[in-house]
């Protein structure tokens, strides 16, 4: 099982990350595809608004062959298909080698697992993961502490706040 730990969801330099990923997604030079040691299938992950989308190309796998599971902050995709050689066939060339896979990826925040959806269309698996309500950044109001105020945190008996 391969874990793919993602970089920080909110990088400080969005332009650099975006440019780097842009280069990968729209390469004008030949993009070397997976070699024998690269994990299969490849996974692309992006964010659209409050949703994270992960996509993998798994041609030849039917709906019943594939399983997507999610727990807390980790999503796992796995699949197994029958070999596609017809009966009594002699193989002249076989390049479509993978008949089973399992890959996981971990996101740096908690997922709303009830709201995760997955689709499989024309060999493309898409997993849509809304960012959990509680994981979204929220503004915390800052209160000013005046002279007579006690801080909210409980103090040990007899303690006091030094002003």
């Amino acid at each position: 099982m391969l874990n793919t730990l993602l970089p920080n969801m909110f990088p400080t330099d969005l332009d650099a990350l975006s440019h780097q990923m842009s280069r990968l997604l729209h390469a004008s030079t030949p993009f070397s595809g997976p070699g024998p040691t690269a994990p299969w299938p490849g996974i692309n992950i992006w964010r659209a608004g409050d949703t994270i989308v992960a996509e993998a190309e798994i041609p030849g796998f039917r709906l019943d062959d594939v399983e997507v599971t999610a727990a807390r902050d980790t999503v796992t995709i796995r699949g197994r298909r029958a070999p596609s050689a017809p009966e009594n066939a002699a193989a002249i060339r076989v390049e479509r080698l993978v008949t089973s896979f399992e890959r996981s990826f971990q996101l740096p925040f908690e997922l709303d697992t009830d709201a995760i959806e997955a689709t499989l269309t024309d060999g493309v698996l898409r997993v849509t993961m809304p960012v959990a309500e509680t994981a979204r950044p929220r503004r915390v109001a800052i209160k000013a502490l005046g002279a007579g105020d006690q801080p909210r945190a409980a103090l040990p008996e007899g303690g006091s706040v030094k002003k």
């Binding site: 990968l24 997976p34 659209a48 041609p59 017809p86 390049e95």
Partner: protein
């Protein structure tokens, strides 16, 4: 039957998914292929994920079968890429057919992102006599 990419813009070694740029700027990938030989036919299986049946063209020119699939761009709108392991683009691959293929009866089917082409072999041909024309008037 040979498997041999005859398209002038294709590059790359046998099994890699290397892409090339076409004039339009779209990347074209060489799809992985299985080729099987049975008693009455050949079968080709090509991985073309993300295409649709309407966007795939299979054409025979002489003894070369060329399969081309157009793939609609998938990463559109306001998105922030987080992790990319593969690119999305069009597909193309050419295969040289042997003489024993009956090109009139090719069958192509696209399902679950895989294009399956069945190439039946020609029915056995009887030896035919060829009439010889010409000769002298003597």
């Amino acid at each position: 039957m040979n498997t041999h990419n005859t398209h002038p813009t294709a590059t790359g070694t046998a099994a890699c998914g290397c892409g090339t740029s076409t004039k339009s700027g779209n990347i074209t990938y060489r799809p992985p292929m299985d080729l099987y030989h049975l008693s009455d036919r050949y079968e080709i299986h090509l991985d073309l994920p993300g295409a649709t049946a309407e966007q795939i063209e299979a054409a025979v020119d002489g003894d070369v079968l060329t399969v081309a699939g157009r793939v609609t761009a998938r990463y559109t709108g306001e998105i922030t890429p987080i992790h990319a392991e593969y690119g999305v683009g069009d597909f193309e691959r050419s295969i040289r057919l042997g003489e024993d293929v009956d090109v009139e009866r090719l069958d192509a089917r696209y399902q679950e992102g895989v294009l399956t082409i069945v190439l039946p072999k020609r029915a056995e041909r009887q030896p035919r006599r060829v009439p010889v024309k010409g000769g002298s008037s003597r």
